[in-house]
Amino acid sequence: MSRSSVAYTAAAMGAESSDEDLMLLFAGGDVAAFDILYERHRGGVFRYLLRQCSDRAAMEELYQDIWMNLIQARSRYRVEAKFATYLYMLAHNRLMDHFRKQRGLHTVPLDDEDGEPLELAASAATQPDREAESHQQAGHFLHLVDALPQAQREVFLLHEEGGLGIDEIARATGADREAVKSRLRYALSKLRDGMKDYL
């Protein structure tokens, strides 16, 4: 889509406009387009990071970095895939950078599908203030998510929070399509088995 074809404002387009159009408008200088875009994806990106990063302060810094990278790279954005794929690709890369930096301090099995749960991923439900607020069932579900190996958890979160399909997850993470499918299947199976008591 050429930039001239989207020479209308985000306000005129309203909520029906696609993410890609909004991003192109933002690249053209329309800040209102960014506001809509941000509103759509802020929760998903935040939870994607929250489930994978134990350090809350570091997670918030990552969250800010991802959006700032997106803002600064707006002029280079081209519609080659769904905007969500692009956004979560930035998020994935930034998260992996963070993990690699932490590698000296923690063991981060990036591609371990069947390994033990990561120590890095904090259980949000185990934090007292959240546990008090959370429903028991919801807390258990979150705990199961946190207990997933990192690669499986990421694929699951990209699917659930980012709304990405198999191909889009493969593109965002740079992984093979079959590997993504396999990780997602493992993740879903573990979650289903873990929730049996609540069925």
Partner: protein
């Protein structure tokens, strides 16, 4: 299990877990408001500060190459200007004329001396500041002028030095007086104090030895920047000897500066190059050049080097290799800075598995 069955099973799993998730309904956590505000403010600031980026033809891939080209052009210009500023100042008289007072009795050979004088004349015209101290500064302050040439003049006197060094190499012609010496000698002889600044006898002997020895003449010939026959001799001497010689020259300068206003001009002009550390360094470098160990002007960055710097930023892979090389070389800060720049430029690039992100 076929591929379709596989997909169907996965879809069923997805639906099941989605319903589970809905039933569990974990509280949808949202980012705190201070983060939202910071990000929205950043977006506004970026759009207002650089609104032209998106629409500009130089906004995308051309911005960095153009910036690099501009930096290269500016660097080259500045380097040329600096080199020109430190380029050799032409000497008022050819080297043979400086030696003339030390060996006045030698037979002049006009046809041989005319050539160096003619070669030096246009250079004098080109640099008026050296013409202003007229003949008085020429013959009597021969030794200081030689030093001045040592430190400042790098390339200017090449033809005259060749003539001054090669021709006297023949026995009997060592100090063949030139026509300029005829002109300069009377002027030099009139003020009595001019001889106080003249080189000591040992230096005259030194110069004659330098001019008469064929190897030093060859050495001077090999250095295009050598201004006179002296460097050729000095190149063959030990550094300590050169340092001593430099000190004695400095003392001669100081002594000469006390003698009168005319000589003050010459000494003031010559003092800066005669600083011991600078002259020792320049002589050391010159001797290295003479010995073929160092290329003259090797400090200047070659265009190939600058092109290399642009090359490794061309693709993410080459850039990452460069970062890896920096990290392995122990330049962690540079590697980290380079990586941050890389991430800004290629935010969507997936790093290879073995790549180690440089950290503090």
């Amino acid at each position: 299990m076929s591929r379709d069955d596989n997909d169907r099973e996965l879809d069923a799993l997805m639906a099941e877990v989605a319903s589970l998730k809905q039933r569990a309904a974990p509280a949808a956590q949202q980012p705190p408001s201070h983060l939202d505000d910071a990000i929205r403010a950043f977006a506004r600031r970026e759009v207002h500060v650089r609104p032209q980026l998106a629409g500009s033809p130089f906004s995308g891939r051309w911005r960095i190459p153009i910036s690099i080209a501009a930096v290269v052009v500016i660097s080259a210009t500045v380097t040329l200007m600096v080199a020109e500023r430190h380029s050799p100042a032409p000497v008022a008289i050819p080297p043979v004329a400086e030696i003339a007072p030390a060996a006045p009795a030698i037979t002049p050979e006009p046809e041989q001396k005319q050539a160096p004088r003619e070669s030096a004349a246009p250079e004098r015209r080109a640099m008026p500041r050296d013409v202003s101290p007229p003949p008085v500064a020429s013959a009597p302050t021969g030794a200081p002028q030689l030093r001045r040439k040592d430190s400042e003049a790098k390339s200017e006197a090449a033809p005259s030095s060749r003539n001054g060094a090669r021709e006297p190499a023949e026995p009997g012609q060592t100090f063949a007086a030139s026509p300029p010496s005829k002109k300069a000698a009377p002027q030099a002889a009139t003020p009595t104090q001019t001889f106080t600044a003249s080189p000591p006898p040992a230096q005259g002997a030194d110069a004659s030895a330098a001019a008469s020895s064929p190897p030093s003449g060859q050495a001077a010939d090999s250095i295009s920047a050598a201004p006179s026959s002296r460097p050729a001799t000095e190149a063959a001497r030990a550094p300590e000897e050169l340092r001593e010689d430099s000190k004695s020259h400095l003392q001669a300068d100081e002594k000469a500066s006390a003698d009168g206003p005319i000589r003050d001009y010459g000494v003031a002009q010559l003092r800066a190059p005669a600083m011991p550390s600078q002259s020792a360094e320049s002589e050391r470098r010159r001797s290295s050049v003479a010995a073929g160990r160092v290329q003259p002007h090797s400090f200047m960055p070659s265009p190939a080097m600058e092109a290399d710097a642009a090359d490794w930023q061309a693709t993410p892979q080459t850039w990452l290799k460069h970062i890896e090389a920096l990290r392995r070389a122990g330049l962690t800060d540079e590697a980290r800075a380079s990586f941050e720049a890389f991430r800004k430029r290629f935010p969507a690039f997936v790093l290879p598995e073995g790549f180690v992100v440089p950290t503090r």
